[in-house]
């Protein structure tokens, strides 16, 4: 096997040094009845070129060459080339969790830079070194709020990504955290503030909203914060489309922000790996889940970085830890850091403006062939369209033109009927594609 650095002679000599007659001697502690005496039923050993061919075949069975208007939690953005040139360097790609800081300053400094950028972008004071993704990050944020407040319950806007809410339910159910969902307003697609107010009780640890929300609508974060805080609940804002932060005011009124940073240079890649991250006010530091990178000095006074406050974590606190998370998304966080460095503060704004312009044009152009919902509130790069035909029929027609239309909303929001779908346009969406989609819908 080409990955194994041993010659047959090496194996023989090593067994001799150990004093074993054969390699099977070393497996003798496995009871004979459980020893596998046959080959595993997996494909025969492939040469490298055969591996390539196998994946070319898989790849060819997926959509390529389609214009796509899908967003809904996974956003297509241009990935500057140097993200991979740099993050694929063996020193980053094949390094371990930086528990030995003397030989991991590269990863550590990059994580410290990541944390700083996330703070600045979200308007929070501290950020961790990543979570699995936005959905688990939001769930962890809710559990964190429960620990912080000592209360036990959460109020969730129905405009939070449906799959985020599913994940939250899974996390919350066995910890006995009751979840209450609050509906949205038909005109704006924003969470219904009156209903929200009514849903918050004295045992509500937090309110969780998403902005821009699942309909692409920007929530009135300040108003939600006021309501939540008035009743002593924390506000958690989940952000699924990170590029929105280039032009949309950060949720500074929130107590905790859970960000899915996939938009910052991470491939959509059929849904993962992505990069969640939790940011919050400094006072919640001790209840923060996940790894944290901190600045310190070495024995000679030089600046350096270490993983810190690990007394919150499972490997020290075991069943009393803030979370069971261990492995996170470090390499993806590095990609995010490089992406943000390439664009910088001016570029990120320009990028977000392009998204705004493309979505605005798309909403007007494609929207002319149906009805745009939730018009009374601002949106970023997504919009909800009610087509004349059912989404199923409309999308089937679009596919014939090599266009993947909007995400059908009927399953998660039956009240919107069978004709509503969620469309996304980013800087990668071209006017030609938008015009073609509009024409196809018209036909």
């Amino acid at each position: 096997m080409r990955y194994l650095p041993k010659s047959p002679a090496d194996r023989t000599a090593m067994l001799a040094e150990i004093g074993a007659a054969s390699i099977d001697d070393l497996f003798a502690t496995i009871p004979a009845e459980y020893q596998l005496k046959r080959d595993l039923d997996v494909p025969r050993q492939h040469g490298e070129q055969e591996v390539i061919e196998a994946f070319k075949a898989y790849s060819a069975q997926n959509a390529t060459g389609y214009a796509s208007f899908l967003g809904a939690g996974a956003y297509r953005h241009y990935r500057p080339v140097i993200i991979d040139s740099l993050s694929q360097r063996g020193e980053f790609l094949t390094s371990y969790t930086p528990y030995q800081p003397e030989i991991a300053q590269g990863t550590l400094q990059a994580l410290f830079e990541f944390q700083t950028m996330i703070c600045d972008l979200t308007g929070m004071e501290i950020a961790n070194a990543s979570m699995y993704d936005g959905s688990t990050g939001a769930a962890e944020a809710v559990m964190m709020a429960v620990r912080v407040t000592g209360r036990n319950g959460a109020v969730i806007a129905r405009t939070v990504h449906p799959e985020y809410r599913e994940v939250l339910r899974t996390y919350a159910q066995h910890q006995g955290i009751p979840l209450t969902e609050v509906d949205y307003i038909g005109e704006s697609g924003r969470v219904d503030l009156a209903k929200l107010d009514a849903a918050i009780t004295e045992d509500t640890a937090c309110v969780l909203i998403q902005s821009p929300n699942f309909f692409g609508t920007i929530e009135d974060v300040a108003a939600v914060a006021e309501i939540a805080h008035a009743k002593g609940a924390l506000l958690i804002v989940s952000i699924a489309e990170a590029v929105s932060l280039g032009i949309v005011a950060p949720p500074v009124e929130a107590d905790i922000v859970s960000l899915e940073a996939q938009s910052f240079g991470v491939p959509v890649g059929f849904g993962g790996p992505y990069c969640g991250v939790i940011a919050c006010k400094e006072k919640f530091l001790r209840q923060m889940p996940g790894r944290l990178c901190g600045e310190t000095t070495d024995t000679e006074g030089r600046r350096g970085f270490v993983l810190t406050l690990s007394t919150r974590e499972q490997h020290i606190r075991r069943e009393k830890a803030t979370s069971n998370i261990c492995t996170n998304q470090s390499l993806v966080a590095l990609m995010v850091t490089i992406f943000l460095t390439v664009y910088g503060k001016i570029g990120l704004r320009e990028l977000a403006e392009q998204n705004l312009a493309k979505a605005h044009y798309a909403a007007n152009t494609i929207g002319a062939n149906g009805k745009l919902l939730f018009n009374s509130a601002p949106r970023f790069n997504e919009f909800v369209l009610e087509t004349k035909d059912t989404t199923e029929a409309a999308n089937a027609g679009l596919l014939k033109e090599k266009i993947i239309g909007g995400f059908p909303l009927g399953h998660h929001y039956p009240e919107l009927g069978a004709n509503a779908s969620l469309w996304c346009a980013t800087e990668l969406t071209t006017r030609v594609q938008i015009d073609a989609a509009a024409a196809a819908l018209k036909a």
């Binding site: 650095p5 502690t29 030989i103 972008l121 901190g294 503060k345 993947i404």
Partner: protein, 497 residues
């Protein structure tokens, strides 16, 4: 070369980006967004492309990595990451597949999930699997959820999970997250499960035992089937932590020896790169009795032979992550499996175990070996002999850095005081092992003859031991612009840098 923080290198007006020309009318953000428009951008840096390339290239040179040498980290399974895996993960149809694109246009992605699932089921000897969990601990969470759902379906969720004192911290943390009490199971003199003690503790309130096998001291639980029998007799289940699966693949199957549910770490056993701490992937395989409880969706072959997602699973524990998991890691794990084949997978395991035993044979006598039971893929020594001179396992780990290696695992497992936990993996050549052995023997000598040298290690790194206490006491978790940096004089820039 030194290299400041990226923020310290920023100057207003530098750019590393240029967008495509806008092909639709420009819009006025304030008009469209109103008061939701952003005004402040904080410290996001402004630099040119070459400065960014240099920054991250320079940072990278401060890292140690598998591509540079050995990580003898026990339990972490730092092995070679095949580069073809990175290449195939970037194929357009794979990297640019949207999770919501129509199933008819996702047959390749579904095929990858389906095929990997089949191979992992075969490798573990289980009946069903989910690829959704994002890492090992997330897999544990999923598995224990499934156990809870199983017991609930029988009318009683039960109350407690038994966990050996040798377990990874994630095990008790996971049990707690799922709402179980943790009951500690003391290891016996061989560092293994004490059957009598187990028999005593298992009762009708016991949901499961979480067991790592081989154990965290690298020893196969020879009486694993008896352990399973004891649990099953009381209706409890056996959860196997698959962190050490690198010792078993192709040689034995957990499904055959009694495990009911287990997770795999694709970033360990299946060689997806650690990337400085992630991403990982933690598929959970289970016996048929637990299949109804798997998270949604699962990949199924439909009546028309095409692949699709099944969301209609009423007994499911629900979702543990949006979409389908860390798909990119499935690609790499599948590429690894294909590259190995049945013979390669078996030889990999054999070489991993051979390497650990070789190290054990060569270092016995130099270091205390608290458990004499035969080792599988890792071996745990202790610093007992060296501690007499005040040299602790952590010191020797740091000293190993001076010899060109990463430290071994220094503070785990907790059942061994002053543990020195060494897992070479199959990726190390005999030549590299001999260098490690030479280095550790030399360190043992140094600990005897010149303990101060070891206690102040490392000596050859860019930076010396870091003050972790100060970092935790007064946490500085982000960069803040110094007041002076606002008005740099023309001359000061160079000095700042």
């Amino acid at each position: 070369q030194n290299e400041g923080l990226i923020f310290e290198k920023s100057s207003p007006g530098k750019k590393a980006y240029r967008l495509s020309e806008l092909d639709v009318p420009a819009v006025d953000a304030s008009t469209l967004l109103g008061k939701s428009v952003r005004k402040e951008y904080g410290a996001l840096p402004e630099l040119s492309e070459i400065e960014i390339v240099r920054h991250f290239t320079r940072l990278s040179t401060w890292n140690y990595a598998i591509d540079l040498g050995m990580f003898p980290l026990g339990s972490c399974t730092m092995k070679y990451n095949g580069r073809v895996n990175e290449a195939v993960a970037r194929f357009e149809g794979i990297a640019e597949a949207h999770p919501y694109q129509p199933e008819s246009l996702s047959q390749g992605a579904l095929g990858i999930m389906h095929d990997l699932s089949q191979y992992l089921i075969e490798i573990t000897g289980m009946d069903a699997i989910t690829l959704q969990p994002a890492a090992g601990a997330h897999g544990e969470f999923t598995g224990i959820l499934m156990i809870r759902a199983y017991h609930e379906s029988k009318g009683n969720a039960r109350k407690k999970i038994l966990i050996p004192d040798s377990a990874h911290g994630t095990n008790p943390a996971t049990a707690a997250v799922v709402g179980y009490q943790v009951q500690n199971l003391k290891s016996n003199a061989e560092g293994m499960v004490d059957l009598a003690e187990l028999e005593k503790l298992v009762d009708e309130d016991t949901a499961a035992l979480m067991l790592t096998n081989p154990s965290t001291i690298g020893v196969f639980e020879s009486e694993i089937h008896k352990i399973a029998d004891i649990l099953h007799a009381k209706g409890a289940l056996l959860y196997m932590d698959g962190a050490n699966m690198n010792a078993l693949v192709g040689k034995t199957r957990p499904g055959d020896f009694g495990a009911d549910v287990m997770h795999l770490n694709l970033h360990k056993t299946f060689s997806t790169p650690h990337g400085g701490g992630g991403p990982g992937s933690g598929p959970v395989a289970c016996k048929a009795i637990l299949e109804p409880f798997l998270p949604t969706p699962i990949v199924v072959r439909k009546a028309d032979k095409s692949l699709g997602f099944d969301y209609d699973r009423p007994l499911s524990v629900g979702r543990v992550r949006m979409f389908y998991g860390n798909f990119g890691m499935f690609v790499r794990a599948l590429a690894y499996t294909l590259a190995n084949g049945p013979d390669g997978l078996r030889l990999t395991t054999e070489d991993a175990v051979l390497n650990a035993n070789y190290i054990r044979a060569k270092l016995e006598g130099y270091f205390d070996l608290p458990f004499k039971t035969p080792s599988m893929h890792e071996v745990v020594f202790s610093d007992k002999l060296q501690a007499k001179n005040g040299v602790k396992t952590g010191d020797m780990g740091k000293r190993l850095i001076d010899y060109g290696f990463h430290a071994y695992t220094v503070s785990f497992p907790m059942i061994v005081s002053g543990a020195m936990m060494i897992e070479p993996t199959e990726s190390e050549s005999r030549e590299e092992l001999d260098l490690l052995i030479d280095a550790l023997q030399q360190i043992a000598r140094e600990a005897a003859e010149n303990p101060e040298l070891v206690k102040t290690a490392p000596h050859t790194t860019r930076i010396r031991r870091l003050n972790e206490t100060a970092a935790a006491r007064n946490p500085v978790l982000r960069w803040k612009a110094p007041p002076s940096s606002i008005s740099l004089t023309p001359d000061s820039a160079a000095k700042e840098w």
